[in-house]
């Protein structure tokens, strides 16, 4: 009982002013080692853990057992080993595998865009499921959303991963979009299935086993929302012992706001870039009819510039797709985490209140005991109330401990996930940028020779030389042996095939093609380049493959 142990404030605080916050590298064994950063506690608690685990019923979901710690040094709250608090995490017996097979868009335009159907297969050994294997499942996005909302409210201990967007920045007519959305859902499923608390939920089983487009959560869970939530949020947060979580919320909040800003700027950048591409297109168009002399130099030049403008607009789209979408998912995630942490605060407040009421009732009981005249009704009443309030308080305490414990674990995981996502997004972004910059460069270089030879003397670049530069020197500066302008010869462009002769060349340099060709090639471009990426090998890659394969 929490009230029977005297409250010793000095034990709780870490008096050492020079203590560095220790970042736990692995999932901690007990809560103690996290909150205190106290190394010496660990061997004790580990020993305790081993003792207690032997007594445990590992499959029970209930967390009502409260084993007192023999170790009197521990703080009042964090005395339950994590295995008891979160038995779901203890064993990895139950798992759920989901494989997304595709996305389907059908129906009206809004339906197509905002409510696609996700097709997937599922395998599991959870007892909540009726069948271990489910194939060719199809669920709509709205069903997913309902499940998500339920899970968010029903499982306060965990951070439910945010649902991916129903469409990407590629636009739903693009093949790339289907692939990307499917991939997003796959990763969402992966995150879901890696969270033991979520997979054990009944609703997940109901969701998967329900028929197409018929799912609604059976249980109703409500969390504090609306005006009450807003007013409660205005108050300063209750005292939080777990430092990590106490600092976590402001961090998440600033992540949320910063990513929103970045998204806004990125969007602005993309729109300006699109406008720029329009202008460049027009500039190229204005070049074409020039009648200064009778050569078609200007015509070709204008075409190249128009093609450059087109590339620019593709780049704008890709910018959005590669960076904006991941940022959006991070933003949603951080919002959910922020609200989950707020919910934890609410629980803490409730706990405080419960503690208060139970203290009050205790006082009442004591007063009654001290009184001379004994009214059996009143005594019964007060004893009953006291029992009730202490039970309530106990429940809340356990609940809070559970939440705290899980959140600490989740926090670690999420931070790692966040950084990986960021790195991945930036990597995608940069790779695309490089690819298209190289394409621009090769386009420009193709017309270099034409421009130079237009002038009988070989152009400005030739001045002073006795002979015209040969064609070989004017070939593309990007090649298998590395870029010609840099000393780092080992850096080969990743997509040689798709770069030196781009898909734009046909439209630009073949005079018979109409201008419309370039437009149609746009949505194909990224797909094509991916194909080429898979098909084309640089000499180096081929050599390494050969070398590896001989053993």
């Amino acid at each position: 009982m929490t009230s029977s142990v005297p409250y010793d404030p000095y034990d709780d605080m870490d008096n050492n002013p020079f203590a560095e916050p220790v970042e736990p590298l692995a999932v901690p064994e007990t809560i103690n080692s996290i909150t205190r950063g106290d190394q010496e506690q660990q061997p004790d608690t580990e020993r305790n853990n081993k003792e207690h685990s032997s007594h445990k019923d590992n499959d029970s979901e209930s967390t009502n057992t409260t084993n007192q710690q023999e170790n009197g040094n521990d703080s009042a709250v964090n005395d339950i080993p994590i295995d008891e608090l979160l038995p779901e995490r203890k064993n990895n017996k139950y798992n759920l595998f989901v494989q997304v097979t595709g996305i389907e868009r059908a129906g009206s335009l809004t339906n197509k865009k905002e409510n696609p159907s996700i097709k997937f297969d599922c395998t599991t050994n959870l007892p909540t499921f009726r069948k271990p294997k489910h194939k060719k499942l199809k669920k709509t996005y709205t069903e997913f959303y309902k499940l998500f909302k339920y899970l968010n409210a029903a499982i306060p201990e965990t951070f439910v991963p945010s649902l991916p967007n129903s469409f990407t920045s590629y636009g739903i007519n693009n093949e790339e979009d289907a692939i990307k959305t499917a991939a997003n859902f796959q990763s969402w499923f992966n995150r879901i299935t890696s969270d033991p608390l979520i997979i054990r939920s009944d609703e997940v089983a109901i969701f998967i086993e329900s028929d197409f487009n018929t799912y609604t959560p059976l249980k109703k869970v409500s969390s504090i929302s609306g005006l009450k939530r807003k007013t409660l949020k205005q108050l300063s947060p209750p005292y939080d012992e777990t430092l990590a979580l106490a600092e976590f919320r402001p961090l998440v909040k600033s992540i949320y706001h910063t990513t929103q800003e970045i998204k806004a700027k990125l969007l602005k950048m993309a729109t300006v870039r699109r406008q720029l591409s329009q202008e460049v297109n027009q500039f190229g168009q204005a070049f074409q009819p020039l009648s200064l002399d009778n050569s078609d130099l200007y015509h070709k030049f204008g075409r190249v510039i128009t093609a450059i403008g087109d590339i620019e607009s593709i780049v704008a789209n890709l910018d959005m797709a590669t960076l904006f979408d991941p940022l959006e998912s991070i933003e949603h995630d951080s919002y959910i985490i922020k609200e989950a942490l707020t919910n934890r605060h609410f629980v803490m407040r409730e706990l405080l209140q419960a503690q208060q009421t139970s203290r009050q009732r205790q006082e009442n009981a004591r007063k009654l005991r001290a009184k001379r005249d004994i009214n059996p009704l009143k005594v019964d009443e007060s004893i009953r109330q006291l029992k009730e309030s202490t039970k309530n308080e106990h429940d809340l305490t356990i609940k809070l401990k559970r939440i705290t414990a899980n959140m600490l674990i989740e926090r670690e995981r999420w931070l790692v996930y966040l950084q990986e996502t960021l790195a991945q997004a930036i990597k995608e972004f940069v790779l695309r940028k490089i690819e298209y910059d190289r394409k621009k460069l090769s386009l420009l270089e193709r017309i270099r020779l034409t421009v130079r030879t237009a002038d009988g003397k070989g152009g400005l670049s030739r001045l002073g030389r006795s002979s015209l530069p040969t064609i070989s020197t004017l070939s593309s500066s990007q090649s298998y042996s590395g870029d010609s302008w840099t000393g780092d010869k080992t850096r080969t462009p990743h997509l040689i095939g798709g770069i030196v002769t781009t898909e734009f060349d046909n439209a630009v340099f073949n005079p018979n093609n109409s201008h419309g060709e370039t437009n149609t090639s746009q949505p194909q471009s990224s797909r094509q380049s991916e194909n080429i990426e898979q098909v084309g090998l640089s000499a180096r890659q081929a050599a390494s493959l050969l070398g590896d394969g001989t053993f």
């Binding site: 002399d293 490089i434 421009v451 850096r491």
Partner: protein, 665 residues
């Protein structure tokens, strides 16, 4: 700057104009020519009266007097310059030299002056003072003034000397008095190329800044350039170095055009810069004044510094148009009523005017135009320009906004006598084709251009103008969009840095910081290349647009002449019929003779105009072709520069991204 010398002279000399006067008058007074002293002063007051500047065919006496006066305006300025250069004791002597050169038949007279000193003087001078010898003819006006008597006496000789000289030297119609011609020691025809170095402090400082901001990991293409000569390197450098992206590319262009076309004519080197715009005036009449600094052998080799405003540049343009019919004059910047004092506008205008002057100076015909020289050197601008305008009848100050609007001066066309007659009647237009003749012409006759070349040229110019306008607009839009993009990238980078500050982990923070950095670098590269594009291609297109206006002006000149021909021919025919009527009637012999006179006048007028019309055709033809070639070459060069710079900036961007990728991902 060495220009300070000029200031010093005019500042420290109390009366720079008077000194040579007094010295000379004293010297010649000794010769017993008392009238000398009065003459110079009288001469100075006469300029206003003269109005006609016909070509050499007509009135010889007036011509020379005019010519004489013309030079006298130019010279007061320069005499101060020249005087201080030569030691005092040789002042009068150096003055005497040009006199000798001019009036060769006065050698005996002047021989008595100081003949033995002259040769000696020259000998001593060669070692120390080169410049006075060459430039003396220009600045001898004042010193000559006491001796104008010689002028009067020898006008016949001189003019006859002038005419053949002028005729042979150049096919121009109206060079009365090019002082450059009458030299005792003819200038050796040099094959100097007119290279124009551009001392533009503003652009240079910009380049400096760009150099400092240059991305360091770049420009390995330099290795190839080492083997070349320095001149070639200079020409090549704009293409391969990132920092040097500015107008020096002009140098190869002018060099190539000059060297290819001018092996016979001499082109003096000119260094001209227009700097230092300053707002002058009170609230009601504010304007901007620029300082024109020029240096050339034609200007005595010393840099001159004058203050000019935009209006003066336009005056020069009109004057040159008037002086050289058919020649395409490099155009001035456009007029603008509002927004005249914005920094960008002033800078743009300044650059355009500088280019205009440099182009004029690089043209072998135009650089020797005396109005041009006057413009570059005159200190008493308002006075002298008005006089010049009067003399030439060019109406240069009546400058309409459209530079293709031209005015054919009757003075120049018809000669002073005839022009007087015409002007009394209100001009060629009204005299002949106007309503007051009544019956024959209700409307003015339409001039149909017989030569297809000009019709084609006009059409071509119109089409080209349209296209270039579109192109220019498009380029401007691209430029402004790019600058928008740059500012947005800036903001984006800032927010990235904010995310990095949250310090999720070292690795992530580094990644985000570097990512933000990369964006900033890209932004700089973008803005740099955008600026360069507008400086090269933008300027070329703009110049070409305005030059088209000049070409149109030239075509208009021809049209107008043709129109005049029609008018005068009609008039002639009418007079002819009149004469025939009257001559049949033997009673009015007086009237007949008067009509016959008029007929003669009209015939000669008609012939004159016809001749002009034909000459102008030749000039236009040649000039338009040359202009075409120049334009095309210039344009192509700039396209190449644009392309090369685009390639370079692309490479730079790729480099930046690749490096980031390698280091962080």
């Amino acid at each position: 700057m060495e220009f300070d010398n000029d200031l010093g002279r005019s500042v420290w000399d109390d009366n720079p104009e008077e000194n040579p006067f007094n010295e000379l008058s004293r010297t010649f007074a000794n010769l017993g020519k008392p009238a000398d002293q009065e003459q110079p002063f009288e001469e100075e007051h006469e300029p206003e009266e003269n109005e006609s500047t016909g070509d050499g065919v007509n009135d010889v006496g007036i011509t020379d007097k005019n010519g004489w006066h013309a030079s006298s305006y130019q010279t007061p300025v320069r005499s101060s310059v020249s005087n201080d250069e030569s030691p005092l004791n040789s002042g009068p002597l150096s003055a005497s030299e040009p006199i000798l050169e001019r009036h060769t038949d006065k050698l005996e007279l002047l021989g008595s002056l100081a003949p033995e000193e002259d040769p000696l003087h020259e000998l001593t001078q060669t070692a120390t003072l080169q410049s006075p010898k060459k430039s003396d003819p220009l600045f001898s006006g004042l010193e000559k003034s006491p001796l104008h008597i010689f002028d009067d006496n020898s006008t016949g000789h001189i003019s006859s000397q002038h005419q053949p000289q002028m005729k042979t030297k150049s096919g121009k119609l109206n060079k009365l008095f090019s002082s450059a011609r009458t030299r005792r020691h003819p200038i050796k025809p040099t094959q100097e190329k007119a290279s124009i170095s551009i001392h533009d402090p503003l652009v240079e400082s910009l380049v400096e800044k760009e150099k400092n901001e240059q991305f360091v990991e770049e420009s390995l293409a330099d290795d190839k350039d080492e083997g070349k000569l320095s001149l070639e390197r200079e020409m090549d450098s704009p293409l391969y170095l990132i920092a040097e992206r500015k107008v020096p590319s002009y140098i190869p262009k002018t060099n190539s055009t000059m060297s290819s076309s001018n092996t016979q004519e001499t082109i003096e080197k000119f260094q001209i810069s227009v700097v230092d715009p300053m707002k002058i005036g009170d609230i009601t009449s504010v304007y901007v004044e620029y300082t024109v600094i020029s240096k050339s052998n034609l200007l005595e080799g010393k840099p001159t510094r004058v203050k000019r405003r935009y209006r003066d540049f336009r005056w020069l343009y009109r004057q040159l148009q008037h002086n050289h019919w058919g020649k395409i004059i490099p155009p001035p910047p456009e007029k603008q009523a509002v927004g005249r004092f914005k920094q960008d506008f002033i800078e743009n205008r300044r650059a355009q005017m500088e280019r205009m002057l440099q182009h004029i100076a690089s043209n072998h015909v135009l650089q020797k135009d005396e109005d041009f020289i006057l413009f570059l050197t005159s200190e008493k601008w308002s006075q002298e320009s008005k006089v010049r305008e009067q003399i030439s009848g060019s109406k240069a100050s009546h400058d309409s906004n459209d530079i293709s609007d031209i005015h054919i001066s009757e003075l120049k066309l018809l000669g002073s006598e005839d022009a007087e007659r015409v002007l009394k009647n209100g001009g060629l237009d009204t005299e002949t084709g106007g309503s007051f003749m009544g019956l024959s012409f209700a409307t003015a006759p339409k001039y149909k251009e017989p030569d297809q070349f000009f019709v084609d040229a006009a059409e071509k110019m119109d089409i080209l103008e349209e296209q270039l306008k579109q192109l220019y607009k498009a380029l401007e839009l691209v430029d402004s969009q790019r600058s928008d993009l740059c500012s947005v990238i800036n903001e984006f980078s800032e927010t990235l840095k904010a995310l990095a500050d949250l310090e999720l982990s070292n690795r992530t923070s580094d990644l985000l910081q570097n990512f933000a950095e990369v964006h900033l670098r890209i932004k700089e590269s973008t803005s740099r290349s955008s600026m360069q594009d507008s400086l090269t291609l933008g300027i070329t297109i703009d110049d070409n647009l305005r030059a088209i206006g000049s070409v149109k002006a030239v075509l208009n000149q021809r049209k107008k002449l043709g129109y005049y021909i029609l008018l005068v021919e009609n008039d002639l025919n009418k007079k002819q019929t009149q004469f025939n009527k009257v001559s049949g009637n033997s009673a009015n012999s007086e009237k007949a003779t008067s009509i016959e006179n008029e007929l003669r006048i009209l015939t000669s007028r008609c012939n004159k105009i016809k001749q002009e019309w034909q000459t102008i055709a030749e000039v236009i033809r040649k000039d338009v072709n040359q202009h075409d070639v120049d334009t095309i070459e210039d344009f192509r060069n700039n396209m190449e520069i644009y392309l090369e710079s685009a390639i370079e900036s692309q490479k730079e961007c790729i480099e930046i991204w690749e490096t980031f990728y390698q280091n962080n991902l």
